[in-house]
């Protein structure tokens, strides 16, 4: 029963991903705002589906069934974070993700977003952004990679503060350094060719 609802959630998540993936193409690049709007519409569907999911089990047994929706919830967290990044170029906070998905942040209040799932979503977004950095150069935007670089570096600093155990989250975090490296290489490629001016922190731009 739970599985059926999770499957519908996965379907919607795939739809959102399809919409957002198109920003990697040069043509889609210009239409980022409209894609975000479309994605937000799809999140309405997500909210309905999650509301349905909540009814399928007693609220105090969240962790008993957690594994069933963990994957799709992480993906949804990633998609929410990605939309917010495309809109504002900032890191979405946990509360906002929860709001987009129509769920809580704190376990006591009900169906909630576990902090580890939020962090996993953020890390998935980091990989997506490293790809976006590469593709934005192809599409002719030479400044975006620098902004992405600053953003990812700050994320990396944040993650370094965490004491992680040897669990899947840790493994995913280990992938972050490759994303950081890839983006730095893009930035290097641009700077060496004089293609991009480095934005002074807070002064320029």
């Amino acid at each position: 029963d739970i599985r059926k609802v999770v499957q519908t959630l996965e379907q919607t998540a795939r739809e959102i991903l399809t919409v957002l993936q198109s920003v990697h193409q040069p043509s889609g690049f210009k239409e980022i705002p409209s894609k975000c709007v479309r994605a937000r519409e799809l999140f309405c569907t997500v909210r309905t589906q999650i509301a349905d999911l909540k009814t399928k089990f007693p609220v105090e047994q969240y962790y008993r069934f957690h594994e069933h929706w963990r994957f799709v919830l992480q993906r949804l967290a990633f998609l929410a974070a990605f939309v917010v990044y495309l809109e504002t170029e900032t890191l979405v906070i946990r509360e906002e993700v929860a709001q987009i998905l129509g769920i809580e942040v704190v376990r006591e209040k009900g169906f909630h977003l576990d902090v580890e799932d939020y962090l996993a979503g953020v890390l998935i977004m980091a990989s997506e952004l490293s790809r976006l950095a590469v593709n934005s150069v192809t599409a002719g935007d030479y400044n975006r990679p620098l902004r992405i670089s600053n953003f990812i570096n700050e994320l990396d600093s944040g993650f370094r503060l965490l004491n992680l155990k040897n669990d899947p989250l840790r493994k995913r975090y280990d992938g972050l350094k490759y994303d950081v490296k890839k983006i730095e290489e893009v930035v290097y490629d641009l700077s060496i060719r004089g293609l991009a001016k480095e934005p002074e922190p807070g002064v320029d731009k």
Binding site: Q61, Y63, R64, L91, I93, E154, S157, G158, L161, N163
Partner: protein, 296 residues
Amino acid sequence: MGGSTWEQLIDAMARTCEGCSRKNADAVQDRDANPSSPVIAAFKVFQQELDTRHDKYERLVKISRDVTIESKRTIFLLHRVTNVPDPEDILNEADGKLDGVRQKIGQIAEELRGEDIHQFHRAFTPGIQEYVEAVSFLHYIRHRGLISLEEINARLVFMRTEKVDPKGSAEALQPGAQVLTFQVTPSDYLLGVADLTGELMRMCISSVGNGDIDTPFQLSQFLRQIHDGFSYIGNTGPYEVSKKLHTLRQSLGKVEDACYTLRVRGSEIPKHMLADVFSSRTTLIDPEEGVHGQQL
């Protein structure tokens, strides 16, 4: 391609490297000296949350280990009842030990207060299964029956007085006393009972060695009932059950063989020699069974 292009490239590279290293140095400083960044602040909160969660998990693992060790010692103690004429002392000692274990389980309940137990279940499930094994073993020896999950959980009720009580009266039970319970899950109960069958099998073999020819038949029937129950569950239960069902079948087989041997040869062999028959036969069947290798 002339020297000037090459020089330009070198210049550009030098500038970039300078820029890079400056940028990196700045970045390093930024990383350490930017605590006001909202991202960093958010991650500091995450750090605390994760640390708290992990610490609790570790505390539960430690308590669970203590529970496991003490339960195992109780089981070893209970195996001795086949050797002694009056088992009451052993049974009482076992009771005492299990009371100690229950105290530890109370600590687990304390840690889990207000938490979702399934989030931490993996931390304490081994201990709880061992406890179920021990307490059901004791119950069988006394009552020749299987303790029920309800009976187990009924003993896991703890009184806790409110720690923060400004009235500070010296009585043990204050009006604000709380009742804390620990509920063994059906899954843990099943797994503990599955392990119990292994111990019962050992007890069967050793009791034959002592010339007790009633116990094996009782045990055989009891084990068969448990086995049939597990077969009924089959693959629908938690996946560990399937593994244990396999072991259970082997145990049941050994017990049935023992009964067979008793039936066929029991009348021929003097009791004091039964031990030898079983020690040689059973060590052939299963070389790992070190327990009765020592006892016989």
